[in-house]
Subunit: 394 residues, 2 copies
C-alpha cells in the first residue's frame, strides 16, 4: 500500500506544570494508506517543534522536512519501513528534531503494517512469542523521605513488584538527605521488591558527585542508578560503571539514533540500556539496539512515560526476549495519557504485562476520549498555511 | 545588562534547491539588552523548526522552550553566558532542536557582550591575539571529472590555497569514477595547494566502502577525508582512522553538544575536529572543544557554509590557536549569505583571513540587504499567536 496521508494531533492537559512528568502532552500520529488502512503512533515531547520538523520548508538537499521522505512511499513489508527510515536519515540529516518526529510516524507504520497483515508488530520483528514483563512503577521522588516512604508503600500495595524513584530534587541535596530518601523507598517497598533510582542527568559529568551516593544505593539494594550524567558523557559513565559496586548503571533514553545507544553500551559501559521508541526513530532502531544488547550481555529496557500506545510500541523491540524482564510503566499518568486509548496494558496479579498478541500495536486510539485535549495549531509562512491541525474524523 | 528581547528572523532565497548548499536560507537572531545594546547571531538550518523550539509550549519541567531559560537573564560577563547555556541544557533536555536554536542566541550574546565591553569575542574567550587562517574553498563536486577540474582550477585562480570538494554524488559511484574526480581536483589545483574531500556520511557505517576510496585519496595527496560515516558511528570512524594511511579522517559538524565532539576525538580517533558553532550550542562549547583538541593533539577546524556573521562566530573558538591554521570558507554562497552583512572577511593575497579585531563578532548585519529575503512566519495555538516574525527596525 502507499502512504496517502500523515496527520499530526497535538493534545495537552489544560495545565502543563514544571514537574518532570512526560504525560502532560502528546503528539499523536495517524498514517492512512491508499487502501484505507490506518495506523497510529506517538512522538515524545514538544509537539509544536515536531510538527514544524514535519512541514518546515527545506533548507537544502539534506535538510528537508520529514514529510518529504514518507508521503507517497510504498509500505508492504518491514523492509519498506527500514528503507523509509534510511531516506529520512539522509534527507533530514541536518534537521535535529527529525528523529523525534519520525519516531511517531515509524511506529504508526508498524501499526498499519501489522493490522494489514493481521500480525502483532513483535512477530513482524522476528519474534515468535511475546513474554511477560515485570513492570516497575515510575514515580517522582517525594518532597521528603516520609512522602517517598508513603509513595513506595502505596506502589507495592497497588501490586507493583518494582518501583523507580527519581527527579524531585534527588542528587541536588546533601548526599545524607538523598540517602534518607533511598532508604525510605526501600523501607516502603519492603525487602523483596526491586528498587531503581533515576538521577535525571543531575550530576552532568561529575563522577565524584555520583560516587558519593553509591554507598546508600548499595545499602538499599538498588538494582540500577539511572542517567547519572549528560546523555553523551560516556567517559563519566564508564568511570562510574567500572568501579566495584553492586549497583548497575543504566541510561539511554535520550538516544536519538541507534548508534548513540550502542555507543553508550560500548563506551559508557552501562548494564541496562533504556530506549524510548518515541525518540530513537521508532521501533526498527529500538529492535537493532535490543539485538546489540543481547550480543553484548546488556539488558534492554523500554523508556516510557506517556500513553499505552507509546507503551505497547516501546515493548515490541524486546517483547520476545524472555530474560529482559523489567519494563517501565507510568504509574501515575495524567488523564490525557489514559484517555488516549480505549484499552490498556494493566498489570496482572504478578505485576506483569504482555505486549498484545493482536494486530499492529494492539492499542485502540480513543477518538472521543482524545477530543477534549486537542490543541489547534496553525502555521503560516508569508500568509500561506503550511500546517493546520487536521480533523480526527476521516 | 538584562536580556530584554530575542528576535528571530527567517530569511531565504526565492528558490531553495535540493543542492547540499547550506547558504540558501538563514535564521538570524537579534538580542537586545535593557540598555539598548544589540547583538546578532545565526542558527544553522530549518529556521521554522528552530523558531518553534524557541516558542513551543512546555511539555514538562525539562522540556521547556528555549525562551524560558534566557529572556530576562543578566549578561555582564562570559560566565553569565555559560550559566545560561547550562540552564538551557537542563530546562530543554528533552527538546532535541533546542541546541540549534540556542546556538544562534548564544552567538548573539557574545556579540552583545563584546560590543558592550568593546572587545572582540576571541579576547573574551581568553586569547590575546587572533591569528590568520588559510581558508579553503568549500565546493560541491562537479558533475563529471572535467567539471571538477575546472572548478578546482578556478578556485586556485581566485586565490585559494586550499580547496575542498564533496557531495554531488561522491562515494555513490564506482570507486574508479570517484578516483577520477579526486585526481581531476588535484590536477586542477596544482601540486602545491591543499586538497580536502568531504564524503557527507555517504557510506553510513561501511568501513570497506570508505577504504576502497583511500588509495586514490593517497595518490592525490588529500589531507583529510571528511565525514565518511554517520556522525556517531564512532566504531567505523576509529576502524578507518587507525589503518595505515597518509589521509587523516575529519568530522564533527553534526555535534550538537561539546561531549559529542569530544567523543568523536576519543572514540572516533579523528585528527581534525570540525565544529559548527551554529549547531553545537554556540561559541562557548566550541571553545571547550578547541581546548580539548589542543590537549589531545587534534586540529580544530570551523564548519561554516552560510554568512560571514556565522563565519566570524565560527572562527572565535580557535582564533588564538596559531597552529590550527585551516578554515572553512563558503566560496560560492548564494546572494542571501552575502547580503546578510555589510562587511565581509575577504581572503588576502596569501589566501588568508583573520577573525576581526573589533568589538563583538565584528560583523555588521545589513538590514536593508536582508529585507528582501525575509519570510513572515505566524504560529497560532488555539487561535492565540505564539510567534509572529518581528520587525527588523527597532
Amino acid at each position: 500500500m502507499r502512504i496517502d496521508s500523515i496527520d499530526l494531533f497535538y493534545a495537552a492537559m489544560p495545565e502543563v506544570t514544571l514537574e518532570a512528568d512526560g504525560s502532560q502532552d502528546a503528539l499523536l500520529v495517524r498514517v492512512v494508506g491508499d487502501d484505507g488502512s490506518v495506523g497510529w503512533g506517538e512522538c515524545e515531547a514538544s509537539p509544536l517543534t515536531s510538527i514544524s520538523a514535519f512541514v518546515t520548508p527545506r533548507s537544502h538537499g539534506v535538510c528537508q522536512p520529514v514529510s518529504a521522505s514518507c508521503i507517497g512511499e510504498e509500505v508492504n513489508t518491514p523492509a519498506d519501513i527500514y528503507r523509509i527510515s534510511a531516506l529520512v536519515a539522509r534527507n533530514s540529516m541536518d534537521l535535529l528534531q527529525a528523529a523525534h518526529t519520525w519516531s511517531g510516524i515509524e511506529m504508526a507504520l508498524w501499526d498499519l503494517l501489522g493490522r494489514k497483515l493481521e500480525q502483532p508488530v513483535w512477530r513482524l520483528l522476528g519474534y515468535s512469542q511475546s513474554y511477560k514483563k515485570t513492570v516497575y512503577a515510575s514515580m517522582l521522588m517525594g518532597e521528603d523521605p516520609q512522602s517517598t516512604y508513603q509513595l513506595a508503600a502505596k506502589a507495592v500495595k497497588d501490586g507493583f513488584k518494582a518501583v523507580k524513584f527519581g527527579w524531585g530534587g534527588y542528587g541536588e541535596k546533601d548526599p545524607a538527605i538523598d540517602a534518607e530518601h533511598v532508604m525510605a523507598a526501600r523501607e516502603g517497598i519492603g525487602p523483596d521488591a526491586t528498587l531503581l533510582i533515576d538521577a535525571g542527568q543531575i550530576w552532568e559529568d561529575d563522577v565524584e558527585q555520583a560516587a558519593l551516593r553509591v554507598p546508600a544505593l548499595q545499602s538499599a539494594r538498588v538494582t540500577w542508578l539511572e542517567e547519572p550524567f549528560f546523555a553523551d558523557s560516556f567517559q563519566s559513565y564508564a568511570s562510574l560503571a567500572t568501579r566495584p559496586s553492586t549497583v548497575a548503571i543504566a541510561g539511554g533514553e535520550a538516544a536519538h539514533t541507534e548508534k548513540m545507544a550502542m555507543n553508550l553500551i560500548d563506551f559508557g559501559k552501562v548494564k541496562f540500556i533504556q530506549i524510548d521508541a518515541a525518540r530513537i526513530g521508532g521501533i526498527g532502531p529500538s529492535k537493532k539496539v535490543a539485538d546489540y544488547a543481547v550480543q553484548k550481555g546488556v539488558t534492554y529496557v523500554n523508556h516510557t512515560f506517556t500513553s499505552h500506545l507509546a507503551l505497547s510500541a516501546s515493548m515490541q523491540a524486546f517483547a520476545g526476549l524472555a530474560e529482559h524482564k523489567i519494563c517501565e510503566y507510568p504509574a501515575e499518568p495524567k488523564s490525557l495519557a489514559v484517555d488516549i486509548s480505549s484499552n490498556h496494558l494493566k498489570p496482572d496479579a504478578q505485576g506483569e504485562i504482555l505486549a498484545p498478541d493482536a494486530p499492529g500495536l494492539g492499542i485502540e486510539v480513543n477518538l472521543a476520549g482524545l477530543t477534549p485535549y486537542l490543541r489547534k495549531v496553525e502555521i503560516l509562512i508569508d500568509g500561506k498555511e503550511v500546517f493546520k491541525s487536521p480533523d480526527l474524523v476521516i
